[in-house]
């Protein structure tokens, strides 16, 4: 009995740690963009490559871990009918879908556009194209919305809304 209780608490700790690792990185992207574009625009293709790898090797696996731990917790604690569990499940599915179907292809595209614009700028001052700037702003905006969704979800999960 003690071990059973301990185990779901361990799973809860894993769930929270996975959320910290999966989503915390996205809060640093505005800093990356600001510092990168201001200080060294020639490194932007590298940043977008890093975003792509971070999406694949940090965000996706830990998102999956958070989901699995959440499913275990909802089943073990009989919480499937509560609002906060349904919301959390929906948000993980939405964010996972956005990661694979929205962010990944656009980050690769941003990398290609940045490479092209750098080549066009030659050794002179870097001038990014309208296409690159518009797409980067769009990706940044969706990133802000995703981060806000993460914070709202943390609130619902913490106060067990609807339980």
């Amino acid at each position: 009995m003690v071990l059973a209780v301990m185990f779901w608490e361990v799973v809860l700790a894993v769930h929270i740690a996975a959320i910290v690792i999966a989503f915390g990185v996205t809060f640093a992207y505005p800093v990356m963009y600001a510092v990168g574009i201001k200080r060294e625009p020639r490194t932007m293709p590298g940043f977008h490559r890093i975003q792509d790898y971070v999406g694949k090797f940090v965000i996706s696996p830990f998102l999956a871990l958070a989901l699995l731990a959440g499913i275990y917790l909802a089943s073990h604690l009989h919480q499937w009918s509560t609002f906060y569990v349904q919301w959390g499940l929906a948000v993980i599915v939405v964010l996972g879908g956005l990661g694979g179907a929205y962010f990944a292809p656009r980050e690769r595209k941003l990398g290609e556009l940045a490479e092209r614009d750098l080549a066009a700028s030659g050794d002179g001052e870097v001038k990014f194209s309208e296409e690159y700037t518009a797409l980067r702003k769009q990706v940044e905006l969706v990133g802000y919305v995703s981060s806000a969704l993460v914070l709202v979800t943390i609130y619902f999960m913490t106060v067990h809304t609807g339980a």
Partner: protein, 161 residues
Amino acid sequence: MLLAASAYELVLALHIMAVVIAFGWTFMLPVAFAVAAKADPRTLPVLHRIEYTSERLLLNPALTVVVGAGIFMAIDGHLFGEFFVQWGIGAAIVIGYLAGSVLIPAAKRAEAAVLRDLEGFAGGEFVASEDYRAATRRLTLYGSATSLLALATIAIMVLKP
């Protein structure tokens, strides 16, 4: 009432949000530096600048919120005698100290060293100097320790031993 919550619950939510913002980004650093070193070493100096800028703009303010919210909850719940609260305060002090006195200066040293190493670099295999390798060894050691401490603290906060 869907949005009803006690002050304690609100502050707990704030506490967890601040933990996500303070520590989450640090876990991408190994991937970021590995990709940069392999694909384009010219990205390394600005990555170190991002590293210490994030420590200033994300880690330090968010850590302050973590501690402030934690102190509120410990007072509200009369929990100062509990091990998990004492551990949490200790961990926050250690992490704050490491960030300010080890990680930020080491990231600045690494930035300066790799900038020197990249002078004249025109592609091909990048060979880092001993100065840069020493700075990154320090960053890896203390950065990993900070991340592990953050994960251990999350476990202790949840398990409340």
